[in-house]
Symmetry: C2
Subunit: 354 residues, 2 copies
């Protein structure tokens, strides 16, 4: 039995306690300051109110005030917040983490310096904890995981990435069950970049639905726009691998669970796809953000803004060629500049030379 | 204006006449012996009865008896039959084709020798026409193309593959319109192998639907099985690239339109996915074939049988390692041996070593 402390009680962090609890571990789920009602609900009846799933009774919920006790003697610490909470999580780790504890991160996204240099989020956490960063092994979970599906124990396949293979294997063994299939991976950067950039491309996968909706019910009676979406998916999968390579990872990582597999599931639905649907209907993105989806967290759109803005700077500095990442740049123009939905097809796939 | 003769009036071949006709070419659509009613319909009212779409009036329909006139002086000859008609198409080409005519093939699939050696279908046609094979340039169309979407002029992106780049570019220019986006490609083998093997993996993308259906409506009220399908998609996309490499193509071809792009669209629906759905419900495949989908053409299942059987022989001969292509082998066991739906997850992604 291993003691594991989870920081954040969002849907994904909580779902991950299910295989851990099924394996009989000592699991402590610590809510953030935004999770108080969730922790109360789990404490009262073992149900996560957003997941609407019963959490095993051996998962111990804690309010943030009890974090110190929950983290004490934990062998593994999981960072379970989303990308918007990464700085806050860094502060918490700085006060709670102890040398030798293994850190596993599920947060997905990228951060850019003023000059456009991109970083994966575990680097942000490492910077936040200072010297401690070198005294703990780091890992991350990537791969196609709808939280609720995992929470109801449906087959889910993921990579546990760590530059230290032994660390990845140790952690994989803690989590592995008959329904949670875990492959260790050592391309830490590649896994993280794939997981972050797949969110970029999910947004575009909503366009076709919106275009068809605007055309009216007659337009999709017999034929929809799968060819259109497939062409975006293919270009997205290539750009995802280009990003992995640019950041120093292995292109082949983009073929697997953290790459096209994850992109497939993210494209199948969710809030980013829904936001893309409004753009497909002809709504300027600023209106989608301020009216139709006001207040709704859009991690994919946030990733487009960070990465798209960084690309402009990296291109200006001559680090990236202007021909690379045409789809990401186009998505950025839509979310940052209200560009109209005129897909620059001929710039995709290396460009059509007439 | 270029004269183009199309052999076969199925949905895809007919859809491809739309961009050609829009570009003002002289297009002759020749039905097979199975297409008589289709040709009659197009001759009578310019509507393809299966597509249910109006075909431009400058597409001239012909019954097979008029094939010689339609082929005479054609600069381009398109082979538009499906994989079940490939031998028949070879016989027709042998009598109709003239030196210097450019051949472009849309048929997808593979053929195996007795010892398991696999061939792409253009090789089958080349063998059928003998010496003529060296006297005509060969090309093929691959990429995510639902025929009806192209026929109603919705954005569609494809590769025209030929070992002769100039030939690919010449043909691309004939077809290119504002909605039909064509990229020349020179990895002819890679494009063909990707297009053939993507059909293999589409079948498995139906499993999740069937499993959920069997579980009853309550099971998918809140959560479905996207994680499951995404893991199959990811593994399929890697095997597709492994097949491309095994056949002498470039792995990177599998990243593009003829690879994951095409796999995405094929997985989104269609008859093979529906057949996989029955297997998901627990129906042995022999019963799916003989009862539930009796008489329905399943190109994906046919590809699984050809390639899966060849894999067994190639493995026995030591040409392919037994660890490679676990998903394709599993799909083969289902369609050829009524194997139960127990996905061998741990053999995927290079295998989990416990």
């Amino acid at each position: 039995m291993t003691k594991i402390a989870v920081l954040g009680a969002g849907v994904m962090a909580t779902a991950l306690t299910v295989p851990l609890a099924d394996n009989g571990h000592d699991v402590h789920l610590v809510g953030t300051h935004l999770d108080e009602a969730i922790i109360d609900s789990i404490a009262a009846n073992h149900v996560h109110p957003v997941l609407e799933v019963e959490i095993p009774s051996n998962v111990i919920p804690h309010q943030l005030a009890d974090a110190e006790a929950a983290f004490a003697d934990a062998e593994v610490v999981m960072v379970g917040v989303n990308s918007f909470g990464i700085d806050w999580a860094g502060e918490q780790l700085a006060r709670l983490l102890k040398p030798g504890q293994r850190v596993i991160v599920i947060t997905k996204g990228m951060r850019a310096d003023e000059d456009g240099t991109l970083h994966i989020l575990p680097e942000v956490l490492q910077a936040a904890v200072g010297d401690l960063a070198g005294q703990v092994p780091w890992a991350a979970i990537v791969g196609p995981s709808i939280a609720g599906e995992l929470a109801v124990r449906r087959d889910t396949c993921v990579n546990f990435a760590s530059t230290d293979l032994e660390n990845a294997e140790f952690l994989a063994k803690l989590f592995r069950t008959s329904y949670y299939h875990v492959w260790p991976a050592t391309d830490f950067v590649g896994c993280e970049v794939g997981a972050a950039t797949k969110n970029v491309y999910a947004f575009g996968m909503g366009f076709a639905n919106g275009i068809l909706e605007k055309m009216g019910p007659e337009a999709s009676k017999k034929y929809v726009m799968y060819n259109y979406s497939a062409a975006l998916f293919g270009q997205g999968s290539i750009e995802l691998k280009d990003f992995i390579e640019m950041m120093g990872g292995d292109r082949a990582t983009g073929d697997g669970l953290g790459g096209v597999g994850d992109m497939w599931v993210t494209s199948a639905g969710g809030r980013n796809v829904r936001a893309g649907g409004f753009v497909g209907q002809g709504v300027p993105f600023s209106e989608v953000r301020d009216v139709h989806m006001k207040g709704i967290t859009l991690e994919g759109v946030a990733a487009i803004r960070v990465i798209g803005e960084a690309l402009e700077k990296l291109t200006a500095r001559g680090v990236v060629s202007a021909e690379k990442f045409p789809l990401c740049r186009f998505l950025y123009d839509i979310v940052a500049k209200d560009a109209p939905l005129e897909v620059p097809w001929d710039t995709f796939y290396g460009g059509i030379k007439n």
